[in-house]
Assembly symmetry: C2
Homo-oligomer: 162 residues x 2
DNA sequence: TCTCAAATGTTATGATATCACATATGGAGC
DNA sequence: GCTCCATATGTGATATCATAACATTTGAGA
């Protein structure tokens, strides 16, 4: 399953690849990946845990890219609306998408101990939820699927998953 | 599927039955359903859409049951932690549980037009999410499943789903 | 070069949630 | 009945998350 992000990986390379994929997508879809938007995406990509909007803003402020909340929220709106990032409702935080440009319903595995977040795929129209929806005539347009628990490393009984 | 709440029903009776079920559960589990907690539950039960904490607080304030945010948040903590109510993360709002006392993972169908919310059951350990979790060694303890879309009535093309 | 839409800068405020500490309530043991 | 203590509530202040409103800048195309 290539969507699980708990294992070790070449992080620098994964960031570069993600940026490249987003750039390509913006190119073909005539979207503006402006400096602020690009930088917010980079900040998100540099972590595999979710970041609060104000944490991102702190970094932008240091770099002179903006100091007020609307700056970061607008950049996040752009990234989220085009599927380059996702909001984790449970955490009121944001995370870069691990497969940008592809249409998908993300599902998240959130470690409550080390705060790592892995993205998987959800199938909101299948399973009991999909059946309940179709039985009642509800039309699902969008879904939030977020599981909280322990990631493999934190589950091992290690004192910390740093 | 008795967990779908979009159809018409005897609302007064459903509220009474829910209160009775919660009372019974508190009785057997030595939990205190204090006046504030009971009233918050009633306020939630009187709707089939989610209510924000401050909306609930407005009602409590009028009734002299408390006027500060911690009052309502503490009552909600009690209700949510014992499964008598759920938080809808997507809406930052709360809703009474439709089958209190039973251990379950709720899933919600949220109408974006009329704000009605129906509760269904989720199976977080099944489907692709469960497989992704077990494949990676993630242990799911809790899950948020919330679908946004159109309820049967709003989907009919009616001007409103009042 | 002009124009206009898109993006950004900035001030202020709204909405959601918690902390910290004081006070009250109610049952267990004496 | 009284004391002790855990639980619950009252209250003021504040933290955290998010958006409204409007001015200014930028950049692609006429």
């Amino acid at each position: 399953m290539d969507t699980i992000g708990f294992e070790q990986h070449d992080h620098k390379r994964c960031v570069q690849a993600a940026i490249a994929a987003v750039e390509a997508h913006c190119e073909t879809h005539r979207l503006h990946l402006t400096p602020v938007r690009r930088r917010v995406l980079e900040i998100l990509l540099n972590r595999h845990s979710a970041l609060g909007a104000y944490e991102i803003l702190d970094t932008l402020r240091v770099e002179g890219l903006g100091s007020q909340p609307p700056v970061v929220y607008r950049a996040l709106d752009f990234l989220v609306s085009h599927g380059f990032a996702h909001k984790i409702e449970r955490l009121n935080a944001f995370i870069a998408c691990t497969h940008p440009g592809q249409d998908h319903t993300p599902a998240f595995l959130i470690c409550r101990r080390c705060d790592a977040v892995a993205e998987a795929h959800a199938e909101p129209t299948k399973g009991m939820l999909g059946r309940a929806a179709s039985d009642s005539g509800f039309v699902i347009e969008q879904a939030v699927v977020e599981a909280v628990g322990l990631c493999p490393r934190c589950h091992e009984g290690a004192p910390s998953c740093a």
